[in-house]
Amino acid sequence: MRKFLIFLCLAICWVVFLSAVVEMPPFGDPANITNRHVVPRYLEEGVEEGGASNIVTGIILNYRGYDTMGEVTVIFTALAGVLAVLKREDVKTSTTMVATSPVGPSLIVTTVVKLLIPFIVLFAVYTILHGDVSPGGGFQGGAVFGASMIHYTLIFGLLTYMRKIRLAVKVPLESAAILSFAIAGFIGLFFGQKFLTFLMPALSHEAQYLLRHAMLLLIEVGIGVATGIIFGSIFASLEKVERI
């Protein structure tokens, strides 16, 4: 009976979703409403208005800035939720997988990780800083940065990781994304424009261009650093809990 009910619910969902898919405009049709108004505007004026030669970055940080600001807040809230349930890592009680495992890390693994980490971090920095000219940006670079920290922690343990990045440094950096977004948003208010606008008609063309690039860079670096540190913090607070 229970299985039948589950199956029935799934079947109803399936029919509803399929009918929604049938109603969708055909993929790639130039007559779609989005292709007639939104896409041409992005493609023709995106570089000029968005300030980034990579149009995706321009759309994410400029046209849909509010949306991205919300996403950044979601990541921060996720960290807050994890910390509320699991609590932050503690130097005194923290153990690591390596410390508790009967076999220590092998020489090959430690050497390879030591050699690879600088290159992974370099790639992360490149991805963050080149977000406005090539694919990538704050989220992507930050995720790579966070993954590099996680790998370091997996091999060398939580204690060395926490000695490298102290809690007093970590806590402000976790909110760097929202902070940089807010700062970049308030720049518009000082010029008599709306919140989070990138267009300042009061300035000359060159000054506008420079300011736009500076704002993009500020937001990208903020998002990148915060995403990386938040991933590291979530991992560390998960790793800390003793075996139940």
Binding site: P135, A147, F235
Partner: protein, 80 residues
């Protein structure tokens, strides 16, 4: 040629998704899930979305898998 590659990738996606559902060993399931994410990253690249491909490869295949493995190592490995 590329169209055929897409078909293979999509079939592999379905196979890995079913594999995650069927597998009772959670460790194996999370590793199959990371294979799913990696394939998904290639599919994003095929759909000309390199931004998403980067995110999927780093978050889906890297960070999420590690978080799953950590959670499994703190709890039980088998699904009841």
């Amino acid at each position: 040629m590329l169209w055929r590659l897409d078909i293979i990738l999509l079939l592999f996606l379905v196979a890995t998704a079913l594999g995650v559902y069927v597998t009772k060993d959670l460790m194996a399931a999370s590793i199959i899930f990371s294979a799913y994410s990696l394939t998904m990253a290639i599919v994003w690249q095929q759909l000309s979305a390199p931004d998403l491909a980067l995110t999927e490869a780093a978050v889906g295949a890297g960070v999420t898998t590690v978080l799953f493995l950590i959670t499994i190592s703190k709890t039980v490995r088998r699904e009841d």
